[in-house]
């Protein structure tokens, strides 16, 4: 197995699915001739043609809405929104349409679309190229929301998302694109949607997180081990619907829970995780649930000191972990 980046893993998943299923096609702004602003779709247009790797007009609702129509007719569109921050014009199509098509037609129609979007900060992207927008979608039944944290998961989850018969939002951390590399199985490789994954075993504290924060939490856990504390790290992977069983198991195992996201704290995905732990694990807890997240300001500022202040990083996680472990 070759070591490849998070970005290459996503590219491989797209290429593999387009190669084995003619109904799969990719569309979005700059995805064709340019190969995407991050080059995720580089070479796909040459290989599969202009229609199957389509450069669209700059209109997000059209990208998603036409994907929905094509999906209802049997296609498997993979729509790219160039930055998650720009998904808002398409939210009516996602929330009012894609999410409700199976339910409102009583299973007559369904909508197998994937919407990929790079999200997250720490890349000097400022307010409109750094956002975590996942909570816009994580209280809408009918949608599945996936955030891979490793190259292998990115490949396996994207192939599963394309094969899923319901709409899947697939958020890729843009800082992870070239930062993370690992060995990824070649060819066909799937990871189930809806299942969290234990990325590190430990008995002293449990960290539950997703996205790039998983990598940061693992780095922090190695440092914490030098202080004699072993952290369990649970990667949510699918943030809607949540894998409650794995969350309850991981929280109950150590009785000390730290929840991490780089999204704003209030009303975030980890708020729901905290509710699940509080409802189900109260008598197993040895400390109050602890949360680490971005501050409740509108978005991530541009100037490096302010950006660093906003972003979660291994140092911040390690400090919180230590505080919790010593509680």
């Amino acid at each position: 197995m070759a070591k490849i980046s998070y970005l290459q893993a996503i590219h491989q998943a797209l290429d593999f699915e387009m190669g084995q299923d003619d109904s799969v096609f990719v569309l979005g702004e700059d995805v064709g001739k340019k190969g995407g602003v991050f080059k995720v779709t580089a070479g796909l247009q040459e290989k599969y043609g202009e229609m199957r790797c389509l450069d669209t007009p700059l209109a997000e609702s059209n990208i998603v809405g036409t994907s929905i129509g094509a999906a209802m007719m049997g296609k498997r569109p993979v729509a790219e929104i160039q930055f998650a921050d720009y998904i808002l014009p398409a939210t009516n199509q996602i929330l009012s349409e894609a999410a409700k098509i199976r339910y409102r037609s009583n299973n007559d129609w369904n909508c197998p679309i994937v919407i990929r979007a790079p999200f997250g900060g720490g890349i000097h992207g400022a307010l409109y190229h750094s956002q975590s927008v996942e909570t816009l979608f994580t209280s809408t039944p009918g949608l599945k929301v996936v955030v891979p944290s490793t190259p292998a998961d990115a490949k396996g989850l994207l192939i599963s998302a394309i094969r899923d018969n319901d709409p899947v939002l697939f958020f890729e951390h843009k800082k992870a694109y070239r930062l993370l590399k690992e060995e990824v199985p070649e060819g066909e490789y799937t990871v189930p949607i809806g299942k969290a994954d234990t990325k590190r075993e430990g008995d002293d504290i449990t960290v539950i997180t997703y996205g790039l924060c998983v990598n940061y939490a693992l780095q922090a856990a190695e440092r914490l081990a030098k202080d004699g504390y072993e952290a369990e790290v649970l990667d949510l992977r699918t943030i809607y619907p949540l894998d409650k069983e794995s969350i309850i198991k991981a929280a109950s195992k150590t009785g000390k829970v730290l929840l991490v996201t780089e999204d704003n704290l209030e009303g975030s995905v980890i708020s729901e995780v905290a509710a699940i732990v509080a409802e189900n694990c109260l008598y197993d807890l040895d400390a109050p649930i602890m949360r680490l997240a971005g501050p409740d300001v509108p978005s991530m500022p541009y100037a490096p000191p302010m950006e660093d202040f906003f972003m979660v990083n291994p140092d911040k996680i390690e400090a919180k972990m230590k505080e919790l472990a010593e509680h």
Binding site: N62, T66, E97, I101, P141
Partner: protein, 338 residues
């Protein structure tokens, strides 16, 4: 060209036979009678909600008749009872939906009435947010082009929807790719209470077609033959790779917006004068004038349709509601294990 008068186009010149006219009238009449019955049931306290096709049946049936029901896809809006009836929604299915009963093919009792869906008959599902359905039809037409299929996707909407972003985004995309797509604006001149003067500054919404790089046409929506002709030609262009068409069919909303609206914003005089443009009345006169059918045919039809509507109503009233637990079904694909 659109005329304010009530003269209908010559049906033979449009390529229609006398049997076609009778078929078209029959569907228009059935939709009207179903619609009228639903209002009665609403006023009798039996149905919570009605939203009407009345006055727009000519546009809907004229359009439907020009399509190929076997292969073409429609993405309608809530006024399109006559269009979906032509495409295969039965009277009983319409009533089951009105009563929110278990057998409602559109939604299993989950949606309000007139939120049509029937995959078997190529009717896409819609929600209540306006204009979103346009993009679904555009997406379907993109699929047809991709796969080289001789099919078209048609969407309909009110003129109020022409102000939504999805209208612009979708038609622009149709123009870019010359998609096999038809959009009909059923312009009844009101977005609930807001008159056309406060909705748009253009003379004709069909003029926007030029800006999208597609064919535009402004027609009399009260004339089913004119609509048939325009849609037939649009379909020909579409399957010949000549792109999409935006049709503005000037139409009439004979009822209030819905059963929850009192229509108080339209003067009595205006509401009375609309009856002169009632497409059903004018089409009936036309059929008689042209000697296509006699009074006796209409009388027979009226009896037949009355029985259909009554039977459908009775069947729907008797039908069971969906089980309460059905509220939990079909959120996601339900995979059977074991």
């Amino acid at each position: 060209m659109y005329k304010e008068d009530t003269t209908l186009l010559d049906y033979k010149e449009a390529g229609l036979e006398s049997e076609d006219l009778k078929n078209m009238y029959r569907t228009m009449y059935l939709a009207r009678k179903l619609d009228e019955r639903m209002w009665l049931l609403n006023r009798a306290g039996k149905l919570p909600f009605v939203i009407s096709c009345q006055g727009q049946e000519a546009t809907q049936v004229g359009a439907g008749y020009a399509l190929d029901r076997e292969v073409d896809i429609i993405s309608p809006y809530y006024r399109d009872l006559a269009l979906v009836t032509h495409f295969g929604m039965t009277a009983e299915e319409t009533m089951l939906s009105a009563f929110a009963k278990k057998g409602d093919i559109s939604s299993g009792g989950k949606q309000m009435p007139s939120h049509f869906s029937k995959k078997l008959c190529n009717i896409m599902t819609q929600g209540s947010s306006v204009t979103t359905q346009l993009l679904h039809a555009v997406g379907a037409s993109f699929k047809f082009k991709m796969d080289g299929e001789k099919r078209v996707a048609l969407t309909t909407l009110g003129e109020g929807s022409s102000n939504q972003g999805d209208f612009h985004e979708g038609l622009n995309f149709v123009g870019v790719h010359d998609l096999p797509f038809i959009c009909i604006i059923e312009n009844n001149k009101y977005a609930i209470s807001v008159p056309r003067e406060l909705q748009y500054g253009a003379d004709k919404l069909s003029d926007r077609a030029l800006g999208y790089g597609m064919h535009g046409e402004h027609i009399d929506g009260n004339d089913p033959i004119a609509v048939y002709k325009a849609v037939k030609e649009a379909r020909e262009r579409a399957i010949n790779g000549e792109g999409g068409t935006l049709i503005e069919a000037m139409s009439t909303r004979l009822t209030a917006h819905s059963s929850d609206d009192d229509d108080s914003y339209r003067e009595k005089e205006e509401r009375e004068s609309m009856k002169e443009t009632d497409c059903l009345v004018n089409f009936r006169t036309y059929i008689l004038d042209k000697g296509v059918a006699e009074e006796a045919w209409f009388e027979e039809l009226e009896k037949e349709i009355k029985a259909i509507v009554t039977d459908a109503t009775k069947a729907a009233e008797k039908a069971p509601y969906p089980d309460a637990r059905e509220a939990l079904t079909h959120v996601y694909e339900e995979v059977q294990h074991g």
